[in-house]
Amino acid sequence: MSDVIDRPAAKAQFKVVGTRPVRPDGADKVTGKAAYGADLMLPGMLTGKIKRSPHAHARIIAIDTKKARALAGVKAVITAADFPDLASEEMAGGESAANVRDIALNCMARNAALYEGHAVAAVAATSASIADEALALIEVTYEVLPHVIDVEAAMAPGAPLLHADIFTKGVEPAPTTPSNIAHRHDLTRGDVNAGFAEADAIAEGRYTTAAVHQGYIEPHACVATFGADGQCQVWSASQGHFAVRTLCAKILGLDTSDIRVTPAEIGGGFGGKTTVYLEPLALALSRQCGAPVRMVMARDEVFRATGPTSGAVIEVKLGARRDGTITAGQIVLKYQAGAFPGSPVHPGVMTALACYDIPNFTITGYDVVTNSPKVTAYRAPGAPISAFGVESAVDDLALKLGMDPIALREKNAVRDGMKAAYGPTFRNIGYVETLEAIRDHPHYQAPLGPNQGRGVAVGFWFNIGGDSTAAVQITDDGAAVVATGNPDIGGSRASMAMMAAEVLGLPIEKVRPIVADTASIGYSMLTGGSRTTFATGMAVTQAAQQIVTDLKRRAAQIWEVAVDQVEWLDGAAVCRDPAKGELTLAALAAKSGETGGPIGAQVSLNAQGAGPGFGAHICDVEVDPETGGVTILRYTAAQDVGRAIHPAYVEGQVQGGVAQGIGWALNEEYIFDTDGKMENAGFLDYRVPVASDLPMIDTILVEVANPRHPFGAKGVGEVPIVPPLGAVANAVRAAIGVRMTDLPLSPPKIRAAIDGR
């Protein structure tokens, strides 16, 4: 079941926005025609493969590639020596800054291998089996070093050091000795000790989460060709081909203008395809041999060398008065960054208490490097981890106070005009409405059976705007083509076409959306941060509005009347003088040569005013007390979505986020052996939920419009992964009477907890 709750203030009449047309990219996807990253074949194309470190931490003493180069069929062999040794340089990324040197060193190790699977060399050969043979012939001499993966072990004095040049940032005075703590983030308000002194009840806990992978089905894949004149082309599946272009230019020391990146269809990203792994290597191989090079990761490479998000320790202490008013919060977050700094602990800190109006708090976050793959953005990066701890503690607080968990959250809910824990003042948020939606949903009152439990949790995500470009062109038969620079990872082609259709007054079938390459459309930030429907949608809307303005001018010219005599209604120019009749878009397109030439508009903008999103979830579980198995019986997710442009795809986003969150809560985890090697680098033992593990996930779209977007849209894709970890854990607590603090809540842990009751 899915519900859409319209807020009267947001009510507006739209013909296309808010409907559920078939997605324009659907037919190719369901018939297998869509061309993904690995699908492009070029004449003379070679196969590129990567030699990876078998050690979690090692100094690279020497790499001998002579034998590999001598093998018949091997056309190129590269190591870090084939790339410039870059200086440290922070650059703006999707939602977080990235260091170009670190990305380069993550693509190809120089001097040190920092995790099992770290690339140390690559080859291009005429066949995959020759490439494999060549990899085996590359001789790497390592000095194996002690490794550290556990986040607290990495923070401890005397831990094996990954980098000699990391001196914890965010600490005064600046440390003089290096450590694995790359950054400390602090967020405080009021007087936390005074706040706890006021409290009648305290809930506290220490929670842990395991590193988890985004789990996209499509492995990383690309084709690259380096022209004799230095002009390069890359085809790859990513969440942002402009980011791929910039990173390739910097890592290879090329001019951005010499690289053209064409986006392939993408088979899932969830944040994990916001960086590069293969593209710079494929370009370097192609540069060496002159032939196009195709690289496709195997699944175990995806697990060992890409993604994941942090494993973490979360310490939470909350205090409240008898009436439920939360008076103080104290939170410490310790996040694994993997081999290079940049865990999502900062957004973890910022979002931890974003749903709550708390007068006194301290939140401290540590970004800690570890001998594991460098973490990459994963859907609401950092927020599900801190929310797991906070929502577990809030649940315990409700128990101690004898309060309904939704009532406790309503009592302390942030509202319009309040200052968010992370700084800004909330405007036009729909959080309270979202809480009301689950409180009033039949699910919340539905009876439960034995060994069953119900959990509630909430979550927040910022959502962002940023740089976007859109071009709308009118065809000679009066239809429209909408081009943007954002890969479609969540149905954005449909929503772009719908917003253009709404403005132009065209039926949706007359608007064809495409994702254009870096040479064919203006710069666009990557698809991430739940920004595309908001920011790129704004650019599409403005481009369509410019066209409407232009069409009215053209009609006025044809009719020889003043422009203010022309209106645009249902896809046609209508003159106030009834004798003139109307001119449809098709008629105006046919006469475009006489009225100024082809009809089209391109808008580039930096979208401001993204509305933050809130979700509130109810989860019912049944626990088998003998096997420790958890069955998700029922799940309802309410979310403030601003305005759902295409409600079915918004519901799909919510359901997808919940599914990933449930996997994170129940079974997903990186398992390392004592040597720091990943033991479960495949979908058999890295257990994402399968379809039969999940019930239908019911959604409630709460529409509190964002006035800064032409149709009221807010970002929707990330919020829904934030509450499930807490919602599942709280439901399990209700079912078995034991607070489970360590994710994943796999059967052995649950059975042990039950036996220990």
């Binding site: 420790g628 033991e679 058999l684 257990r687 399968v690 039969s692 593990d693 052995p748 059975r751």
Partner: protein
């Protein structure tokens, strides 16, 4: 994948000859759902593949005087379509159906599951509980061995060079007999057993268990036959006390390891739980047969 030679002989003797000639690098291919994955992942290197599917009788189920003969390369999907087999051996069939996905069921065979010699193989506890035997063909002729004598340790079998399993035989059933198989996995499907338990039993007309066999998967280097667990329920009508004895005896039989899929402690507990639950299902099925 390194170079691979492929032969598809049309007789069992030709297959045995080919396998013997191929030496240590020769592999028999039935459904291939383990073999091809191992070749592709590099765990196995090249060599000779001898496809058994073209041998007459290698695919199919036939009934012989109440016994069933299942060709070595018979896919799981076909096994589930044989009504007589499903009626007689529901536990064997349900165990076989747990191997892989729907697509894999179109290829995966019980003989392959057995000869892959994983202690976690789903069909193997059910086959062993059922007292299945295997007809083995080799360079020196044919022999018949019990299913439990084929796997000897993880990934290793007692098959000699040139030998392969041609068919699996399930014995004729006494009245009021039934079996059941259960496994524990963290998900609902597409997974490998953390523990598996098969129970095969026969009742007298009064509902008392007169014969039973219990086999446990993934709690030892090979599938374990838990004789004490069977003894714990023989002579009972599977009352609560018998179930409790079964649980304890099954746990007592376990020799598990701790690994990424589960701790030894967890596996031991679950073996008792599943043995109990599988026995209850088999008992219910056997009683239902008595009522027909």
């Amino acid at each position: 994948m390194s170079d691979v030679d492929y032969l598809a002989p049309t007789s069992a003797d030709a297959a045995a000859k080919a396998l013997a000639a191929g030496g240590a690098a020769a592999r028999a291919l039935a459904g291939g759902t383990d073999l091809l994955v191992q070749l592709k992942s590099g765990r196995l290197k090249g060599g000779l593949i001898v496809d058994l599917k073209h041998i007459p009788g290698a695919i199919g189920v036939r009934e012989e005087d109440g016994a069933f003969v299942i060709g070595a390369a018979t896919p799981g999907a076909t096994i589930g379509e044989h009504a007589g087999l499903v009626r007689a051996w529901p536990g064997v069939v349900e165990a076989t159906h747990l191997i892989g996905s729907t697509q894999v069921q179109g290829r995966a065979s019980m003989a392959g599951n057995l000869c892959n010699a994983s202690p976690a193989a789903d069909s193997v506890p059910a086959l062993i509980a059922a007292r299945a035997t295997c007809v083995i063909v080799g360079p020196s002729g044919r022999r018949t061995v019990a299913a439990e004598d084929i796997p000897v340790s993880p990934g290793r079998t007692s098959l000699k060079p040139g030998e392969f399993v041609l068919e699996i035989r399930l014995p004729a059933r006494a009245a009021r007999s039934a079996d059941a198989y259960l496994r524990s996995i963290p998900r609902t499907e597409m997974d490998i057993a953390v523990v598996g338990a098969a129970v095969n039993l026969t009742l007298d007309s009064g509902g008392t268990i007169i014969e039973a066999r219990v086999a446990l998967g993934a709690v030892g280097p090979t599938v374990l036959i838990a004789d004490d667990a069977a003894a714990a329920i023989i002579g009972s009508r599977l009352d609560a006390a018998a179930l409790e004895r079964l649980d304890a005896a099954a746990r007592g039989a376990c020799r598990p390891i701790s690994d990424k899929r589960g701790t030894a402690e967890f596996r031991t507990k679950i073996a008792g739980v599943l043995a109990r639950r599988a026995a209850a299902i088999a008992y219910g099925r056997a009683r239902a047969k008595g009522e027909n």
